[in-house]
Symmetry: C2
Subunit: 329 residues, 2 copies
């Protein structure tokens, strides 16, 4: 299977690594908005093209993995490139999934291509686990916890505060809340009860104690991002940030508890969790497995937009049905 | 969707409970090898038929859930009834799945019916999680732990020992082994290192200390069942057994750890776990969700034998694609 990458940031580089771990996949093209001659990729011998020339290279790629951002890139790129390629993206603005789905579905159908959106771990593997658990336990309650992990959006929000040179924000699930959920008691939890936020902030040179106090106050009172959480702010040096906070770890928990039995007398806990040293490397690994599924679906004549909910699990595997039944069932 | 139950034991009764929790499902027939007039079921107004008369009632059932045992019932029943019904079973003899699949596939194809075998949690949800995790992390290692839970097979093995009136055996995962796996160190674990076995045994009246010593020795040295494990044997009264060990709890953990990154520098842990007050009630709940999928596949013209690997997750849900994308993705 010949894979193309559109956008060579953290996610694009992760896809490049994941392809290397899947012998049936080959990276055949990277598309960039930058000057292609300025881009140095890790895989030897793979051409880098300007995204404007993508149409000319459509025949070199079986599935194009679109590695842009959800805010402005993907709503435009995924429908556009679904006219030329089978495509897959990691669109993660949950509230806008229906409209993104409709746009991609129309484009992919019209072109006879197969597309899959919102792939990764949330949306993605977490969504799948929510669906399976809901179908198995119709009478129950869902909980999703994130972390411990770096939130890029929250880190960026801190960086926009005046006087901040760099920052890293960790989202941390509250252990007592996890324990309460696992007990089966189906607690109602507020935003504050579920997660705490821990910030590591580097101030500009010459910052005073008054600057620290102001930045800490601005962080803790920031609406949507921090105001509803118990937030800790630590001021550290650039050296400490680079030494101790260079990674992009993440993870989380999807838990559903529910009742079975004639009189609902039995408690059940279904839990799925991830602990990831690198969020983009794992997301990319999920996407490459689903790229295999997109290629198979296209080869079976399916067109239009799909999500992880539509894909038979066997389509993710390079092994045959006989092999997975014999070894994994 | 009209569901029939074949075999009214623990699993059949669990299916009856699960149907009650799914408003789009209706129990329309129970088939038994016993005298139908002797069988009292919980759902009012549902006919009980002798299994010998099943053919005459095929039109009353959309999906037949076959609730027999894997040792001798299912290898015979599932292919036989796949000639008359869309069927689903919980065949769990892992080593014989390929031959069972082939027999059911041939029968279902010939009759134009849809069948699904080996449904439940292991095989079933655990298998799915093994498959997904293997596809996402091609370079890694799988671990499955069971328990804490009652093993019917091991309890039965103890009951067959001379002088034993009743017994309950719990399989318990070793916490240190779980911790070692979750660390990502990919340990090689022996059978003994992964699980312990705890037995509660009621002896016949008048048993002596010598009887106790003999029974304990026979249990601990029993090949396949106990010899490879650290086993604890507790002698208790019938009253204690009935008071403290009446339930059939179970559960377990499927964990895959693996590497991502250009130089495999990132560790990842994917974990799925279940904690179930009643093993048969949960297994039944999984089966009823998959019965919905079998009915949909049949309505789309699919025939032959399927497993959980072949079923698009959306087919398990009573909700539409739009609804699950909007609320669960």
């Amino acid at each position: 299977m010949r894979i193309g990458i559109l956008g060579y940031g953290n996610l694009g580089r992760g896809v490049e690594c994941a392809i290397r771990q899947n012998p049936d996949c080959e990276l055949t093209a990277v598309f960039t908005r930058r000057d292609p001659s300025s881009l140095k990729i890790q895989t030897p011998g793979v051409p880098v093209y300007n995204v404007a020339d993508a149409a000319a290279h459509a025949s070199e790629v079986d599935v194009l993995i679109i590695c842009g951002g959800s805010a402005t890139d993907l709503p435009k790129q995924t429908p556009e490139f679904a006219k030329l390629f089978n495509v897959i993206d990691s669109f993660d603005t949950h509230a806008r999934i229906p409209e993104h789905f409709a746009a991609v579905d129309a484009a992919a159908h019209a072109a006879g291509n197969c597309a899959l959106i919102s792939c990764g771990w949330d949306p993605g593997m977490f969504s799948l686990n929510r669906l399976y658990a809901n179908c198995i336990l119709p009478e129950g309650k869902d909980y999703t916890f994130w972390g411990k992990g770096v939130s890029q959006g929250h880190s960026d929000a801190i960086r926009r505060i005046e006087g901040v040179r760099d920052a890293r924000q960790y989202t941390i699930p509250v252990q007592e809340a996890l324990d309460a959920v696992r007990s089966g008691s189906q607690p109602e939890l507020t935003t504050r009860q579920k997660h705490t936020r821990e910030c590591f902030v580097v101030l500009n040179d010459g910052a005073t104690d008054a600057d620290k106090a102001r930045v800490e106050k601005e962080i803790k009172e920031m609406p949507n991002y921090f105001a509803d959480y118990d937030t800790t702010v630590n001021f550290i040096s650039m050296e400490e940030l680079q030494r101790d906070h260079a990674g992009i770890p993440h993870g989380g928990f999807v838990i559903r508890t529910g009742k079975t039995g004639w009189n609902r007398e039995f408690d059940n806990v279904i839990e799925y969790s991830l602990k990831l040293d690198s969020n983009p490397a794992f997301t990319s690994s999920v996407i490459v497995a689903y790229a295999r599924a997109v290629f198979r679906m296209k080869n079976e004549g399916m067109t239009g937009c799909k999500t992880v909910f539509d894909v038979p699990p066997a389509y993710l595997s390079p092994l045959s049905g006989e092999e997975i039944r014999a070894h994994l069932l």
